[in-house]
């Protein structure tokens, strides 16, 4: 569960990025996070993975109290989340298999477990046959799916996808969204940061809209556009 209680966040230069945000995302929910550039979406996701710290208020993420969390506990918090980056952040010198395995290796997973889980999740995203390919041999959609496999492989509770359809063709958008719904059906909480109004309207899910660092609407479906 993710719970913001009157959370404000101010950068060291004095710029207020979030002010008095209160919201709750329950386990297994599917949420779209929308808003204009600079509205505070990125800051909100950075707070979730503890890349930034709250200035005031209370923030609880997957059982961790983030305003008091010690730096030694941050890796444990981050292991409860899988992040899919807009630019994929795949490593060019690693194969698809190695890219996914790397995410497990850095959290100290046993080699035997890596051998078992990486092919499984590559199959989940439909790339089992591409495990020996390098990222530059993949299409944009395939790269995105590798990024999803990598985010899923450590079995996190929450998946945060930052503009997952931003770098892919319209044809591939549906496939990626289907994948996210599939992941959500596996019981994972899914948070999708997006500008894409079409997919918001198409998938009648909860939409949290942020403007100028505050939550301006929190509704199911595309109603917020009205």
């Amino acid at each position: 569960m993710i719970k913001f209680e009157n959370v404000s966040m101010e950068y060291s230069n004095g710029n207020a990025a979030l002010s008095d945000v209160s919201l709750q995302i329950d386990d297994g929910e599917f949420v779209f996070l929308v808003g204009h550039s600079g509205a505070g979406k990125t800051t909100l996701t950075k707070l979730l993975i503890c890349e930034e710290r709250v200035s005031s208020g209370r923030l609880e993420v997957n059982g961790f109290n983030l305003e008091k969390i010690r730096s030694g506990k941050i890796p444990k918090l981050r292991r409860t989340m899988g992040v899919v980056f807009q630019d994929f952040k795949l490593f060019d010198k690693m194969t698809v298999y190695e890219n996914v395995a790397f995410a497990m290796r850095v959290v100290g997973a046993k080699p035997s477990l890596i051998k078992k889980r990486v092919p499984f999740f590559l199959d989940v995203v439909g790339l089992g046959h591409k495990s020996d390919s390098f990222p530059d041999q993949l299409s944009g959609g395939e790269k995105q799916r590798v990024a999803f496999a990598r985010a899923l492989v450590n079995n996190p509770d929450t998946i945060i996808a930052d503009e997952p359809t931003g770098n892919v063709d319209t044809d591939l958008t549906e496939g990626i969204m289907e994948l996210l719904v599939k992941i959500n059906k596996l019981g994972k909480t899914v948070i999708v940061v997006t500008h894409d109004m079409n997919i918001i309207q198409q998938y009648k899910k909860r939409v949290i809209r942020i403007e100028n660092g505050t939550v301006v609407s929190d509704k199911i479906g595309g109603d917020f556009l009205e």
């Binding site: 503890c50 890796p75 981050r78 952040k89 850095v106 959290v107 100290g108 046993k110 080699p111």
Partner: protein, 357 residues
């Protein structure tokens, strides 16, 4: 940490060494220069020390007794010297070590003792033993006996030209003020003659010592020591700087990996380990190479340089310890310590920026 994780990170560290081969070579060279410098200074100072310590009686002051003094004067001077030695904290002697009686009219401790003319004569003979002219001298008791010698303080024969002396051994001579004070006190010893008037009992020229020589050598040694320390500090800083930049290049090349690792939930220790391994490998490799170079430098160059500098070239007068028996362990441990310190510190500093949560 699991064994598989440790092996994985060691592998990554080794890869890092080759990824940055030019900077790695630069780091190795600077660190080797630092270690050889430290090692050479240490070996030079230690060799000087060994030779210095081998010179007998360097920290000894000898007060020669006037040839005309009888037993009473010598005993009386001994009593006054005992007072001085008892008070001086640079002489390891106190009055409890000398119970004065007829059998022990003069002190005979290691650090404060009287050496009679007869004993000097025997020492002299022993020193030049084997030479024909000495063998012809005969025993000290062979000559015409001095009727007045009962306690073995003055010469037992008229033939012995040597004088008796008191010998005081200082704990160390580094406290020059204390040494000078004692010397002045000895120089000022007076006795009272039959008429009741005081006279100077110990002439300045009768006080023999090597304190100035000791001071000069100490000053050279201290200069070398301080210069060595400064050079070591400077080279160590340069080494740290170069290794830091070597590792920073590796960190920069892998900055995206590091960021991803952090966001995936990798611990700081896990992220730090490959770079730490890289630093340690540079340190250990430098130590091993420096050790080899230092051995050859000492055996084939340093000993000759010290010999020619001290004017003992081509002779066996210079005392040098065998490298393997005396120095190998301390040099190896010292180099390893410098290498590990430089490697660990520089890799830790290089990563600091990228490890902020």
């Amino acid at each position: 940490m699991k064994l598989s994780v440790i092996f994985y990170n060691i592998g990554q560290g080794i890869k890092g060494i080759f990824r940055n081969s030019v900077m790695t070579t630069a780091s190795l060279l600077v660190l080797i220069a630092c270690m050889i410098l430290v090692g050479t200074f240490y070996l030079t100072i230690d060799t000087i020390d060994r030779n210095f310590n081998a010179i007998d009686n360097l920290n000894v002051i000898e007060i020669m007794m006037d040839k005309n003094y009888g037993e009473n004067e010598i005993i009386e001077i001994g009593e006054k010297l005992a007072e001085i030695c008892d008070e001086a904290n640079i002489v390891d002697w106190d009055k409890s070590q000398w119970a004065k009686d007829d059998k022990n009219p003069v002190p005979k401790s290691d650090n404060f003792k009287y050496i009679s003319p007869d004993e000097h004569y025997e020492i002299f003979k022993e020193m030049y033993k084997g030479e024909a002219w000495v063998d012809a001298l005969g025993d000290s008791h062979d000559g015409e006996h001095d009727e007045g010698s009962h306690l073995g303080i003055t010469s037992s024969t008229h033939d012995n030209p040597l004088r008796g002396s008191y010998r005081i051994t200082f704990i160390n001579l580094s406290d020059f003020d204390a040494v000078s004070r004692v010397k002045n006190q000895i120089d000022s010893i007076t006795l009272t003659d039959a008429n009741g008037s005081e006279y100077d009992a110990v002439k300045t020229e009768d006080i023999k010592d090597h304190i100035e020589l000791y001071g000069n050598v100490m000053s050279i040694k201290n200069t070398l020591y301080i210069a060595g320390l400064w050079l070591m500090a400077i080279f160590l800083l340069i080494s740290l700087f170069v290794i830091m930049n070597t590792i920073k290049l590796g960190v920069f090349a892998r900055r995206n990996e590091i960021k991803f690792m952090r966001l995936c939930g990798a611990t700081k220790a896990f992220i730090r380990m490959p770079f730490l391994v890289e630093g340690i490998i540079i340190g250990v490799l430098s130590a091993a190479i420096s050790f080899g170079i230092e051995f050859y430098l000492y055996e084939y160059l340093l000993k000759d340089i010290i010999s020619s500098a001290t004017g003992t070239s081509g002779t066996s007068a210079i005392i040098s310890a065998p490298f393997w028996e005396e120095y190998s362990l301390i040099v190896a441990v010292g180099f390893l310590a410098i290498g590990l310190f430089a490697g660990i510190v520089s890799s830790s500093i290089s990563l600091k920026k990228y490890l902020k949560a």
